[in-house]
């Protein structure tokens, strides 16, 4: 693929569908280079993850995913940017360990700060940028910038030049004391396992929250056929269009299951004036199944999502279908977010998958 630069005009969210074959999963060496894994890693902060499996497969995953797996923890803390750049926090957490942090606010409207893989990204409005005195790049669609442009400033805090006493770092500290000094609510998640002994975060009294999975069992759903007919995709034309419509409808059905919508229940009578949704496929292709949905909601890391997907694949019997989706935090003013849905189809080889990737504008 050619590397394309950021879009100059506003572009609506796009959904990319991939139908592919996974390589062999070696639990000791988690894969990271091929398609479903790179997509999972490209998401920055995961807000919500869902797993949909047939009810009979629940016992198989129950132990692995719910009982034995430690619930990922994250903290909510009220601090300012200057506290993050303070000596002990910077050294213990940012330089030595891998953490991710996200501040409150919406990107097109407030000043938002995000810390991920050692890079601090600040989305600032014009006044904050001019008062901060840090060099950044214009942010936002070109046509919308006008008189009040917004700016994004990036700093790599793990670099060797980011120590107190160095010019670049001192400018950042000056900005954090003068222009960006308001304390905000942050979400903090530590990806490394160990915590420093005198925890620099304790001074700010964080609230620890853990994402325990939410299980809803026995969802009675009208299930369409979950196997794509892929014999003649390569020849293009009609088969391709058929595959496209199949994927779109299947994605819609999966989203309705995630939402817990009553439209997918058998015998659902709703006035067609209010909703005209029908489960895809002919009557004879639909089947009534009991489904189980496991939901995690919180501040999750993409590495956790990758590990969870590996656990699911290794735990489930190879003929069972499942669907795993992750949704990120919303980015722009409209509140749309990026999403990734992974489906292993029924009655196919256990290494086949369909991957839907929804990419927002930002």
């Amino acid at each position: 693929m050619l590397p394309f630069s950021a879009p100059a005009v506003y572009q609506a969210s796009k959904c990319f569908v991939t139908y592919g074959v996974m390589g062999h999963l070696d639990p000791k060496q988690p894969p990271s280079k091929s398609k479903p894994w790179t997509t999972l890693a490209s998401q920055d902060f995961i807000h919500r993850a869902d797993l949909i499996i047939p009810q009979q497969a629940y016992e198989a995953v129950q132990d692995v995913l719910i009982k034995d797996k430690p619930a990922p923890q994250f903290k909510r803390v009220f601090m300012s940017l200057a506290d993050i750049l303070a000596d002990n926090f910077l050294e213990e957490y940012i330089k030595k360990r891998n953490i991710m942090m996200l501040s409150e606010g919406r990107r097109g409207i407030d000043n938002v700060f995000a810390l991920r893989q050692g890079t601090l990204t600040m989305f600032l409005d014009k006044e904050a940028y001019e008062r901060a005195g840090l060099v950044g790049k214009p942010h936002g669609v070109k046509g919308k910038r006008g008189l009040k442009p917004r700016w994004v400033v990036e700093f790599d805090l793990t670099a060797s030049s980011m120590f107190p006493g160095k010019k670049g770092f001192d400018r950042l500290v000056y900005a954090s004391k003068n222009a960006l000094s308001t304390p905000l609510t942050w979400l903090f998640c530590s990806i490394s396992d160990d915590t420093p002994m005198p925890d620099p975060l304790d001074r700010h009294h964080p609230t620890t929250l853990s994402t325990t999975p939410n299980v809803s069992q026995g969802i009675n759903a009208l299930t369409p056929t979950l196997t794509p007919s892929v014999d003649s995709i390569g020849s293009g034309g009609e088969a391709r269009e058929e595959f496209e419509s199949f994927c779109t409808e299947l994605y819609e059905w999966l989203s309705l299951v995630r939402l817990g919508s009553p439209r997918i229940q058998p015998g659902d009578q709703i006035d067609p004036y209010l909703c005209r949704y029908h489960v895809p496929g002919e009557e004879n292709q639909q089947s009534q199944q009991l489904l189980c949905k496991i939901n995690w909601q919180g501040f999750l890391a993409p590495s956790w999502a990758r590990q969870t997907l590996i656990d699911i694949i290794t735990a489930l019997p190879s003929k069972t279908w499942f669907s795993f989706s992750t949704t990120t935090f919303s980015k722009g003013m409209a509140g749309d977010n990026a999403e990734c849905t992974f489906l292993r189809p029924q009655d196919s080889s256990p290494v086949e998958y369909i991957l839907w990737e929804v990419k927002g504008h930002e």
Binding site: E127, Y129, E130, R131, A132, G133, L134, V135, G136, L147, R171, Y174, A175, N178
Partner: protein
């Protein structure tokens, strides 16, 4: 009769339409047929030696008058003479600190009790004040590398401030798109003076001992801080004295 009509030129025909036949005829003969044809129409009248001498003399007296009139230096001449440059030995922050203290006293005197209250009156007085010797800090700027420059103003020209920083660097900061912040403590700082007694023992006297004790226990002494929007301030300090400032809504802010 017909042949005569055919020979009549178009000018004559048009003239007969506008005037009486006698008039038309007269105009035609005088202005068209007997029109003087200048051979060299735009050459000036030939001057004789007398006129030429007179003109040279006039030019000389005017040039002399102009040279005698005192005129300000042009920008190129100023730069070449280097009259307004601060020499290398003079670029020391410590040299300007006494000037800064003088300026603080001047501003306190100018504002009087309004230093505690601020407001419109204080703002009007500050607009006409002179800022040479004031300690400014660049707080906001369209050019982000200027933010954080702090020092004493050594030159307040029409479009820029020349500032000397504590590290003895002389910086020229344009006023356009920049906001400067100045701070004036309301009370003069506690000063320690050493007096040497006749037998050579030095003794420290503290003025305002009560103020010093108060400031130990309370917050730092109150000071008035104000910001100057350089966009609206692009006048020489001499011109600003009599200028009335009106609030303008800036598109850039």
């Amino acid at each position: 009769m017909d042949s005569k009509r055919k020979e009549q030129s178009i000018a004559a025909v048009l003239l007969t339409r506008a005037h009486e036949p006698d008039e038309a005829n007269r105009i035609f003969t005088e202005k068209v047929q007997q029109r003087p044809l200048f051979l060299a129409p735009s050459s000036p009248p030939r001057s004789d030696a007398r006129a030429a001498r007179r003109r040279a003399q006039q030019k000389k007296t005017q040039a002399r008058k102009k040279a005698l009139k005192p005129k300000p230096l042009s920008a190129a001449q100023r730069r070449k003479l280097g009259l307004y440059d601060i020499p290398r030995e003079g670029q020391k922050y410590a040299l300007f600190v006494p000037l800064h203290n003088l300026w603080l006293g001047y501003i306190r005197e100018l504002l009087g009790p309004e230093i505690y209250t601020g407001g419109e009156g204080a703002a009007a007085k500050l607009c006409s004040a002179d800022f040479h010797g004031g300690e400014v800090e660049v707080v906001r700027s369209g050019c982000v590398s200027r933010v954080g420059i702090k020092g004493i103003v050594v030159k307040d020209s029409r479009f820029a401030f020349e500032i000397i920083t504590p590290k003895n660097h002389l910086k020229l900061v344009p006023k356009e798109g920049t906001v400067f912040r100045l701070q004036v403590p309301a009370q003069p700082a506690v000063t320690t003076t050493t007096t040497t007694k006749p037998d050579g023992i030095t003794e420290n006297q503290e003025t305002d001992r009560a103020v010093a004790k108060e400031s130990d226990t309370h917050d730092p002494p109150p000071s008035m801080a104000f910001e100057i929007h350089g966009e609206q301030f692009r006048f020489r300090s001499a011109d600003r004295a009599s200028k009335k400032f009106r609030a303008h809504f800036s598109k850039k802010l």
